[in-house]
Symmetry: C2
Subunit: 348 residues, 2 copies
Amino acid sequence: MPVGTVASVKGVPQDVLEELGVQILLNNTYHLYLRPGVDTVRKLGGVQKFMSWNKPILTDSGGFQVFSLSELRKINEDGVQFRSHLDGSLHFFSPENSIAAEIGLGADIIMAFDECTEFPAEHERTRKSMEMTLRWARRSRDYWHAHKHETPWYDEKTRQMGSPQYQALFGIVQGGMYADLRRESAERTVEIDFPGYAIGGLSVGEPREKTWEMVEATIPLLPKDKPRYVMGVGTPEEIVEYVRLGVDMMDCVLPTRAARHGLLFTSEGKVNIKNARHARDEAPLDPKCGCKVCARYSRAYLRHLYAANEVLAQVLNTVHNLAYYLDTMRRVRQAIQLGEFASSRSAV
Amino acid sequence: MPVGTVASVKGVPQDVLEELGVQILLNNTYHLYLRPGVDTVRKLGGVQKFMSWNKPILTDSGGFQVFSLSELRKINEDGVQFRSHLDGSLHFFSPENSIAAEIGLGADIIMAFDECTEFPAEHERTRKSMEMTLRWARRSRDYWHAHKHETPWYDEKTRQMGSPQYQALFGIVQGGMYADLRRESAERTVEIDFPGYAIGGLSVGEPREKTWEMVEATIPLLPKDKPRYVMGVGTPEEIVEYVRLGVDMMDCVLPTRAARHGLLFTSEGKVNIKNARHARDEAPLDPKCGCKVCARYSRAYLRHLYAANEVLAQVLNTVHNLAYYLDTMRRVRQAIQLGEFASSRSAV
């Protein structure tokens, strides 16, 4: 899932996302809550109508975003008090009003409100945090259940489809870097019963083997017949390996953020486009890539745009990196369909 | 002609420019000379190949750009010494090496090196400046004539077409805000004999009626059967009126620069998209516009992108403003073809 923080994948128009074959986007509740505000998005029909994107959208709960404002937040059992990074104004997210925001934004998939445990953290501290996330998961589920009719589009979609149409609320497994806590969190989150499950609290500064170990410990305890989503990962090589572990969904700012810094993923490895050695290189960025950037522009031109600080650099780099990620996942899906994925690394 | 200063119309990929029906782009010699440098562009086959744009490109001579660096330049008969706005390094443009740069960049239409007279300026000072521009026009023409085979693509295009292929070097009329000097400059520039003529030194701070008066004084003295180009104008209303005076070509940063500041041209007048009254407006920016921005997005979304400082704001705003300008000129051409243009203001 490409990340479209404030209802835009930075620099890429929606028709280009469609051409790229994007199937689902992530929007951040924290950012949309602050700007343009939940009421505005609700009034405009929800995030899909707002940004004119006719495929699914997932919103996070704001938990992770608020967690990353470490200077500006205060957590207790009730929820999290935080200050806006925009104007310093004071706000409060609880499981209830975070889910209310997600209902108001009206994405297709919404996430329970969780505490993302900091790294590093002691076992005892991590257990307490995990326990609170479980209590918050129940509160999220209960609030959602009582208010699930309140999406901006409930009446319209329900009439269209002839049956009640709701968002899917996913639970989030926590447990820090402790496999026993991850397993316990998974089992107890599954007991609450969600239509999909995410593994959260990863990519918070731990070594990559730890991330891997935690996913490996958790995945077998999540139902195979429901979507299993690892939040905030990874590199192109890693996402393939996560699929091998049984992961169905991932989101990551890496392709889009790296693009803005001139770091491009290619079949021949990472390319730093600002490097002077590309200045007169007439070759495409990636000769094996079929995206419209590789089909049309030279490395020399992309390097020039980046060096000259042109906005088009960001646009084209982002389009390419997304194409690279989406192609990777397309090959994974094909290999799975052909029954070749589990047996062969080279299939993708 | 949309302005693509450093071989990019800020934020808009070339395939979108094609969709918009852009027929010709302007690139700035001064900027490309500094970055990526003429040698690099030459090595890569010239500006068209460099930016992968298969329609005509026009480069200015750098004269106007250097003129706008008033703090950093020193002018004498030989040429202009100036400092780079990027790193303060010292450079020198003369008619000869400016044309050498334009030959190296290899655009389809190139401009003679001129002095853009400052505003306001006395009659005597303006005459002297105009006289120097005339001498520089001859030197530009002479240098071009001796070196016109040296474009990056001369051999290839000449072979392809079966006859020698050269750039078209246009002369530039100066004369400040004095109709008598404009007329004299026009007559004497035409005597030198160029395949096209521009009116330069306008839009330098003078009242708009003055601009109009100068164009009106000059146009009748420029051959009707050659392109007549007014540099650096104007608003959508003005460009229609310039055509009425006999102008064939114009360039202006207004549509692209205004877009970056959230100022959008519509059939109902100018719209300042950052205005809070658009925050919940589901209507398209311009209901009469057929561009892909107006076809897909609401004012509310465009306003949100602008307020949130999203790069997509610049991309979409620029696409719309270019569409508006290009549609305006398309209607002008249709009206001319139907013989309705001269007779009726309402035809466009």
